[in-house]
């Protein structure tokens, strides 16, 4: 069963709708969205509300449902 979600680019504010299957992983969402926006090489994470989603979680495990809003956030690495 597929779900449609909206992913927001935290850096620019732009959004894209993604069609996902239950077995898709959060990692695949990250890579799909980052690729769509041609993001610079780097680390990224996805949040759903106040929750950071783990990369290995599936759509089902992460309780991602239809019409959810997700946000792609660059993960700082410098120091």
């Amino acid at each position: 069963m597929s779900v449609r979600v909206r992913v927001r680019n935290a850096e620019t504010g732009s959004t894209v709708d993604m069609e996902l299957e239950e077995e898709n992983t959060v990692q695949e969402i990250i890579e799909g969205a980052a690729g769509y926006w041609e993001k610079d090489a780097g680390a990224y994470v996805i949040r759903k509300g106040k929750k950071l989603l783990r990369g290995q979680q599936t759509v089902l495990e992460a309780s991602i449902t239809h019409s959810d809003d997700l946000e792609l956030i660059p993960d700082p690495e410098g120091g």
Partner: protein
């Protein structure tokens, strides 16, 4: 017979104003020993804030030398250090004494991966002030193994984050990693041969963001030392200085994380 009170007694104690904060256990802070891994921008600010907060025993680890481009964000470094090729950890250990002559700072010039694991458990809190995923994961796993709280900070331009890891209760750094992090590690360490150069652009870094992130790291340490662990960040605090936005995001512990399953 006790000594008579002097009118200026409140200004004779360097930590008098800190004691007025109330929730900070100053005896615990003064008696604590902190390990700071990384003597770059974050490491400089963390050491500065630790000393001013009253921490008197610090170990700092870094393998790099000071360069001129560090001087926009490293409060302890000077032009003469860059020209002399001074080791970052040693320069901090030397110059930090200007803030408090009584502070004990041990400097270790080398990689965190070469630090004997037993050194982690000699400390009450470990700070990650690093600039790469691999070193962070190493510091994270060794802190976790020894049950020592690990406070990781990171910056990128005007954004930053702090994650507080309190073993065994909380998710660790590795729980938060995904393929994009591991790809960064692979890119750095892939075997390219002696005749191939891998170009890696420098990261944007400036002092105002560094100061904010390091201050939050040190404050989390003060909470832990003062028995206020329940008030610590759960799990990651993200900061965007340009958008004037900061937020705490929670994360679940990864049941398959190799750090937890040891």
């Amino acid at each position: 017979m006790t000594d008579p009170l002097r009118p200026d007694h409140q200004d004779a104690d360097r930590l008098e104003r800190s004691r007025r904060v109330g929730w900070i256990d100053m005896d615990a802070v003064v008696g604590a020993r902190c390990l700071v891994i990384g003597a770059g921008a974050l490491g400089n600010e963390v050491v500065k804030d630790l000393i001013l907060s009253g921490v008197s025993r610090i170990t700092i680890v870094d393998m790099d030398d000071v360069v001129i481009s560090n001087l926009n964000r490293c409060v302890f470094f000077r032009t003469e250090d860059a020209l002399a090729g001074g080791h970052k950890a040693q320069v901090i250990a030397h110059r930090a004494k200007d803030l408090n002559e009584a502070v004990e700072i041990e400097s270790i010039v080398g990689r965190v991966q070469d630090l004997p694991t037993e050194r982690f458990k000699e400390h009450d809190v470990v700070f990650g002030c690093l600039d790469n995923v691999a070193a962070r994961l190493h510091a994270n796993s060794h802190s976790y193994f020894h049950g020592v709280p690990y406070i990781d900070g990171a910056t990128m331009g005007t954004t930053g984050k702090v994650q507080v890891v309190r073993p065994p209760l909380t998710p660790c750094l590795q729980c938060a990693m995904n393929r994009t992090h591991y790809k960064l590690m692979e890119k750095r360490f892939s075997c390219t041969g002696n005749d191939v150069t891998f170009f890696e652009p420098k990261m944007a870094a400036e002092i105002t963001t560094t100061s904010v992130v390091a201050a939050v790291q040190v404050r989390e340490c003060l909470k832990i030392l003062s028995g206020k662990e329940d008030e610590c960040i759960k799990s990651v605090w993200y900061y965007d200085g340009l958008a004037n936005r900061s937020e705490v995001l929670e994360m679940d512990l990864d049941p398959d994380c190799s750090v937890h399953s040891r």
